[in-house]
């Protein structure tokens, strides 16, 4: 493991210097769009609070994920005319991976939250200067809503981060399709194994819920399902959940090591 944080920072600076004009245009456009949307929504419904336009913020972070993880992350290795230079740049593979990880996992969402906060300040100032009386409030980044935004982004990060190095083009579309196939396959497999091992339970359950499939892991023993100790099942689920994060991040690192050009 060869990681020098100064070199990682230099790598990030170099990568962003080489994309500066495109990035500045994109961020400016995004920021302007965000402000305009906040302004419009709050003008239409003057009683709306900033919490009421959480959907806008959620959409915004989704766009950030699409842009950062879909187009920006690991893009230095995708164009054959550029990738020779980046592959032979004196930084270890761990440092190149970490630079992309830090930007996509930490810097991008934090910058977004700050942009939302700044945008809400601009909109609020605009309302005050226009003399419009609205219930619009400045966004508080250190709030449950801010944490929710970050959590949502971080949950989708590992898969998209892996997709960013695995696929060359249409990263988001291909990764989503891949995940849909995997999840669908897993559901069918789980159902099939369950039906093989515990046919009565599965059949009873279908009768009980009129065909609606419900997944409940910490239910009561008398519900007709197999009893699983709540603590144990939660532990297993959490391990699987966070383990999948680690799995995709490690996979993305291994994939980066395989890149040839």
């Amino acid at each position: 493991m060869n990681v020098n944080l100064v070199r990682v920072a230099t790598y990030i600076r170099l990568k962003h210097a080489t994309e500066s004009s495109r990035l500045i245009r994109l961020i400016s456009l995004f920021f302007a769009g965000l402000c305009a949307l906040m302004f419009l929504l709050s003008s239409v419904n003057k009683d709306s609070l900033s919490e009421d336009i959480t959907g806008v913020y959620g959409l915004g972070i989704l766009i950030v994920a699409v842009v950062i993880l879909g187009r920006h992350t690991f893009n230095e290795f995708k164009n054959p005319l550029e990738s020779v230079g980046w592959l032979t740049l004196p930084a270890s593979t761990e440092e190149k991976w970490l630079a992309n990880f830090l930007v996509s996992f930490l810097i991008a969402p934090v910058v977004y939250i700050l942009a939302v906060t700044l945008g809400s300040i601009v909109v609020k100032i605009l309302f005050i200067s226009l003399g419009w009386n609205t219930a619009f409030e400045i966004y508080n980044p250190i709030s449950a809503s801010g944490l929710d935004l970050l959590t949502g982004y971080w949950i989708i990060h590992p898969v998209l981060f892996f997709g960013a190095i695995y696929f060359n083009k249409s990263v988001i579309m291909k990764t989503s399709a891949m995940m849909a196939i995997v999840i669908f396959g897993l559901l069918i497999y789980t159902f099939f194994v369950g039906w093989l091992l515990l046919p009565d339970v599965i059949t009873d359950d279908f009768n009980m819920y009129n065909g609606e499939l419900q997944l409940e892991w910490d239910m009561e023993e008398d519900s007709g399902w197999v009893h699983l100790a709540p603590t144990w099942s939660k532990f297993v689920l959490k391990t699987l959940f966070y383990g999948s994060f680690l799995y995709f991040w490690v996979l993305s690192y291994l994939r980066l090591r395989e890149v040839d050009v």
Binding site: A17, E19, T88, P90, T93
Partner: protein, 291 residues
């Protein structure tokens, strides 16, 4: 510096490997040399440079001991290895920022980078470092990257067709820059079709075709072969007519030898690689035997 023994490489197409590009390639290149990589189209000159730079994985990559560059297996892309090499690819893109800004950020990765030399080379190449790189012509971009490569002071510099796109004064400036800046322990490998551009720079060549490859020291070549103008009764390896008179390479060491024309050597290898390499190797074998 570069030790290659039976290197094989084929590009992967889908899940299978295609026809081999490099087949049992072997050579040993000592440090401190200026090497021209000469070969016809498609023999794998650029591929060889990329393998040496570690951006491609050779076939049978587990056999690491047979492919060592600066005492590293290049494909490991270890930090220590990457700090010692710089590659100027044949085609590349430069970003949308000024040369000064770009170099300022990139030089931090190269511990031996010589900023003064870089500035001097830019002047020689008549480049303005405040100019936006993406707006430069192809030749200007090449000159910028060559200047940066030489300024890194890396022990191994690889250049793939560096004079492509350069005008005549720039080619001359390129030759001067390489000759004047190369250090004793630094090796420069230049792959090109335009052998005349290299004549004053290189002291050895890697001759490659689809079947065989060999590193040849040009300083010792006169011990095995000679260039003869006019008719000759010596065993001719290759001959061509220039201005109505034959010019030949013969398998003999002449007392009054002249410099061997690189283009003639290249053609001799292209049309009679076995004869040429046998002539060179038999002299080396005789020398070893007498020693």
């Amino acid at each position: 510096m570069i030790n290659i023994d039976s290197l094989n490489f084929s590009y992967v197409s889908g899940i299978r490997r295609s026809q081999p590009v490099l087949n049992n390639l072997s050579m040993d290149i000592p440090p401190g040399r200026s090497v021209g990589v000469l070969g016809a189209n498609g023999v794998g000159k650029s591929t060889l440079l990329r393998l040496i730079a570690g951006t491609l994985t050779p076939d049978f990559a587990s056999d690491r001991g047979t492919f060592q560059v600066l005492n590293h297996f290049p494909r490991d892309r270890s930090l220590d290895f990457l700090q010692q090499i710089f590659i100027v690819p044949e085609s590349f893109e430069l970003p949308d920022i000024s040369g000064h800004w770009y170099a300022d950020r990139l030089c931090g990765f190269y511990p031996l980078f010589d900023a003064e030399l870089f500035s001097d080379l830019l002047q020689r190449f008549e480049l303005d470092h405040h100019h936006i790189l993406s707006e430069m012509s192809f030749g200007q971009k090449k000159k910028f990257l060559v200047a940066f490569a030489l300024a890194t002071r890396c022990p191994l510099i690889l250049m793939d067709e560096p004079t492509n796109g350069m005008d005549i004064p720039s080619k001359s400036a390129f030759r001067d820059a390489v000759i004047e800046t190369q250090r004793d322990d630094q090796t420069i490998l230049i792959s090109t079709h335009q052998v005349r551009d290299l004549e004053s720079i290189i002291d050895s060549v890697v001759l490659m075709n689809n079947d065989v490859s060999s590193w040849v020291d040009l300083n010792l070549l006169y011990q095995s072969i000679s260039q003869v103008n006019g008719d000759s009764e010596l065993p001719i390896l290759y001959s061509e007519t220039r201005l109505g008179s034959p010019v030949s390479l013969v398998a003999a060491a002449l007392d009054n030898h002249t410099d061997i024309d690189l283009e003639l050597l290249f053609n001799a290898f292209h049309y009679n690689s076995d004869g040429l390499l046998n002539a060179i190797q038999s002299t080396e074998a005789n020398k070893e035997a007498s020693a």
